[in-house]
Amino acid sequence: MEKLNPQARRDRYGSKINRTHSPSLAGGLPWASVMVASLVQILPLAAAVPVMPPLGFIVLLCWRLVRPGLLPVWAGFPLGLFDDLLSGQPFGSAILLWSLALLVIEVIEVRLPWREFLLDWLLAAAILAVYLMAAALVSGGRMTAPLLLALLPQLLLSVLVYPIIARMVAWLDRLRLMRFRTVD
């Protein structure tokens, strides 16, 4: 068989002989990747203006839009709680906004079950715009015109970074189902 077709006993997730998916990786990778993205936003930067896109939220959006049905509707609560610990926003803002975002996507999915990438991107851009405004509103600071203007570069960056992260999430989704575990 191997002489005729070397790929016969393999698929895109690796050899099918004596190998199987690892359940912890398959189930845990989406959660872990969102948490790592939340961590990234506090590590390397110190800036006078908020420029960094809210990476944790974007990765969550990508998992939800690129690969529906993997993260449950209530995923916004635990993941938002973790993000709140690190983001410097008042505690509870990410829990509230992330949960709301997931519910909103759920409602939109009823109307538009089949979406192409451009529509996903548009949807993500709209959600990000509302999210950044809402996050600034509940941040406890005074809302001034310059502060709102300062949000624009951040929004632009967030919208532009979405396709890149969507590709990364698609790659992580393939990694998630790699057959790492050996079966005896």
Binding site: L39, Q41, I42, L43, P44, L45, A46, A47, A48, V49, P50, M52, P53, P54, V66, R67, P68, G69, P72, V73, W74, G76, F77, G80, L85, L86, S87, G88, Q89, P90, F91, G92, S93, A94, I95, L96, L97, S99, L100, L103, E106, V110, P113, W114, R115, L132, A135, A136, V138, S139, G140, G141, R142, T144, P146, L147, L149, A150, L151, Q154
Partner: protein, 296 residues
Amino acid sequence: MAPPEKRRSSTSRRAQYGRFTGYVLAIAGVLIGLLLLAVSLQRPDSFAGLRGLARDSVAPAAAPTTLARTQSQGVLATIAGYWRAGSQNAQLREEMELARIRLREAEALKQENARLKALLDLDQGEGAPVAITHFIGSTASSARRFGYIGAGARDGVNPGMPVRSPRGVVGRVVETGATSSRVLLLSDSQSLVPVRLARRDVAAFAEGRGDGLIRIRLINLGINPLRKGDLFVTSGTGGYFRPGMAVAIVTRITGDGALARMVSDPAATDYVAVLPLWQPETIRAAATPIEQPVGE
């Protein structure tokens, strides 16, 4: 990709209940979030302990990036420097001469100051820093401007203490963990520092705008005495900051004051010193309700 499951999840009761529970949990999450948010907006320090714990565990990983951040700023500045080397050289030489003269004058003033203070028996001491530590980073995506430093309650840092870099004021500690603390940066929209013009006695407030600039609001409105390039230093009013630390440089004049840039940009800051409160008694007195006597 289309959603893998159908809306009505088969006739299996178990699957139907699973879906239903998911929605209930999600809505519960929204409500809990709303509640927590209300609590933390009312009392911002309610979750300080939890956040401190999370920050303490992340801080060691963040420390090495401090160096990379400040050095990458240095590289850009170096390249930019080549373009204007010649004209800058002449200009710097001239400034240097002037600065030497000013330095001598300042020394004389310092001596005079010391003599006058001794005369008045007034010792307000510089106050040795409580801790010298890394400036780890700042909130990068939130609209609030908080910084993180690598010293906490274990090093004797308390909320309220001023934080400065070699260049000038960075901000004030708002929350302490065991080995790290959160600093309210000057550019945050809740930050308000009493300042005065370095070259004259003009009192003002330096107020963060949230977009990296600082608004200077003069206390006495009238003819605006500010000029572009004016330096503002802390005035010592309020008792938190020792007077004379550099805060901001005016970049644009407005009707009631000016817009200014921070002297100590957080992105270019690597090491900071946490200073003790300048006049703890004044702060305690200000925090005591007027009906009560200021006791121990």
